[in-house]
Symmetry: C2
Subunit: 406 residues, 2 copies
């Protein structure tokens, strides 16, 4: 298959590109490298030393004989260039990672809110628009988030995208219908993924586009089979308060002797998936496309759920780290249950890598190896969800006053 | 009250500005005049001769002694200017009409799709973002559309924004919850109004903004009490295939001896409201705001529903016009029922102006008076919803080949 990976230079995009290339697909990465620019803006860097995309693809070819082509294209800004690229290359599938993906970054300031909305909505819409315009029946696989559901279930376990509901009809009877699960986003970032869902629904209905939307949990881990092949193929690994995600952050904090940063009561339950499973799920979704005329196919891409404070305590026991309970910069429920269905991927053969598989210590080892690259002052979360919450974030877990709070 | 009317130069924005000014409010129109630019792009003009916004406001002052201020601001493009304006003027209420509002225009080409998404999403998001950033607790009243619901009811009568649904809980019981009515947009334009809904939901929840969303039916008529005060206060009146709306188009077609253009079977049932009621509803919504912390308040702003072919036959009987059944450029159900709740406005004192009130002939009179300004070649609908449908639109109702079909 010829596959375009939009955002293929990112944390999940890069290992996905390698995974698909290793399986013999012709992989093209389209990326505007915005994530590297954001590193520069924030003055942080990946814990792992990460080479340029050009150098990474050179090494991949050197090690495996396989080619991954890189195309510098701004999906949100360069509609005409994207359209021309699609018309010329006519990929069989398009994997769409090309969105600003951090909730805290999206809430940082009014500029960051506007950037996230503008970038994410226009990226997705430009892509859909161009697929229709060039008459390309490529299978579109999009990386969404479990966060579109919100974290309090409407009814029972969260189904895979569609909720059966009972409604009263004109004749007074109750009929059951399936509706897109009601959106309940918790940040501007999550909201853009909810907007994406409506774009997909419309283009599937009006134009018959074949679309799969993956509602992904929080990705943890850093290595996949392919990124381990050579030091210069290493994946990026974020630890800062904006882009670092909860489980990976705990592991890094444990590795460098920093308190594990739990926000609020830590009663938030979240869904998780290891990065190796993430790339495997994308491959499974790719090879099981919906038919033309079908509604959007939605998978819950996660393997287990955990309460944040339970994770912190698990890692504290494993490593001897301390746990710091801090004010919550997010406006969210202090406690929630979460039960999620994921039968579709299990039926397609996914064999989940869970926290019990011993890979937690692999992450701690990576973090220890690169601990000399950690800037401790970038660990605290400084993006507040509302102006009221900002003053609560002025001190780091060790009690030091932070320079900037937004 | 100090009121900002965004898009106050448009078809409903202008009479709303006059209506509120006449009632003693301090009215500021913010508009980028994009609708006038689109007239220029399409090479069509309002049936009624319409003066510049500067001239219109001058006449209003001359006739009534009241001032309406005009500010040339591009809501979608000039975030910083908008923010500064709001910080400086601190209006008590903001009425948001500032979106591209024609479904056929939004489906005209890939450029028009992108323009509509970009303009409408960024306009709405910039506004919400700026209200939070300047800490302004203004009541935001947004003009939405009945089209967010789609035109086939999920269950019984379409409620005012929120649908009670029964869902099965983890314990196996059925619980009833109210959810935002599932979106089912029929065009890119309608889709942007569905995106708006999610933006409103998020900002009401996260930031406590007070928001009212008016799901408006198809507006008919042209005069209001205030636009009738002086010839130069006349409202715009669109008859072309992109911006003209169904009932007004029938009345103009009847006035100039053109066949009434029914698309498909004419079995589509739609909701309608007279423009005088539209401005009255906006006033009622303005003076009945939600409280801080409330969910978005949603009204169905319509007074009656009609089947399109019934309307055509009514007007044919009234005027002697012929009815032409033409291919449908839209991808939509050929027939639908529509039952809509609108109790909220009735309870607040709305006294509906229905088709039976004799105002149909007023519209025909306006059309006859300005018939010399009609370009008959601009009457057919030429924007196809999909490329497959485009070839069916090549001839006008009189059998003549059209120059362009998109």
């Amino acid at each position: 298959m010829k596959i375009a990976v939009l955002g293929g230079d990112g944390f999940v995009g890069w290992p996905t590109s390698l995974h698909l290339s290793a399986r013999g697909h012709e992989v093209h990465i389209l990326d505007n490298l915005s994530r590297r620019w954001i590193d520069t803006e924030l003055g942080v860097q990946s814990l792992t030393p990460m080479d340029s995309i050009q150098e990474r693809t050179r090494i991949w070819h050197q090690e495996t004989g396989r080619r991954i082509r890189f195309h510098l294209i701004d999906l949100a800004g360069d509609y005409e260039i994207l359209k021309r690229w699609l018309a010329e290359h006519r990929p069989d599938a398009v994997i769409h990672f090309a969105e600003q993906r951090a909730a805290p970054y999206s809430m940082k300031s009014d500029r960051h809110k506007n950037y996230t909305v503008n970038n994410n909505v226009n990226a997705t819409h430009n892509l859909l628009n161009a697929l229709v315009e060039v008459g390309l029946d490529a299978h579109l696989v999009h990386l969404g988030t479990m966060g579109v559901y919100g974290y309090s279930s409407v009814g029972a376990a969260i189904p895979e995208g569609y909720l059966p509901v009972g409604v009263e009809t004109l004749s007074g009877e109750t009929a059951t219908q399936e509706i897109l699960y009601p959106a309940n986003p918790g940040s501007i970032y999550h909201m853009t993924k909810c907007l994406d869902q409506l774009l997909f629904q419309f283009y599937a209905k009006n134009d018959g586009l074949r679309i799969t939307d993956l509602h992904q949990g929080i990705v943890w881990g850093t290595h996949t089979q392919e990124t381990k092949l050579h030091a210069q193929l290493i994946n990026r690994f974020d630890y800062d308060g904006d882009y670092g995600t909860v489980l990976n952050r705990f592991l890094i904090q444990a590795a460098i002797g920093y308190p594990l940063t739990v926000h609020g009561t830590g009663g938030q339950t979240r869904a998780f998936i290891h990065i190796q499973d993430s790339v495997r799920c994308i491959e499974l979704a790719l090879t099981n496309p919906p038919k033309r005329g079908d509604r959007v196919k939605i998978f819950n891409q996660m393997t287990e759920t955990h309460r944040v404070r339970d994770l912190a305590e698990l890692i504290a026991r494993m490593t001897g780290a301390k746990v710091a309970y801090l004010p919550n910069p997010r406006k969210e429920a202090p406690e929630n249950d979460l039960v999620v269905e994921n039968e579709q991927f299990l039926k397609l053969g996914l064999n989940p890598t869970t926290l019990a598989e011993g890979l937690l210590s692999e992450v701690v080892d990576v973090a220890k190896k690169f601990a000399y690259r950690v800037d401790r002052s970038r660990i605290p979360c400084v993006s507040a969800w509302t102006k009221d919450l900002a003053p609560t974030l002025e001190r780091d877990p060790e009690g030091k006053r932070l320079k900037s709070v937004g």
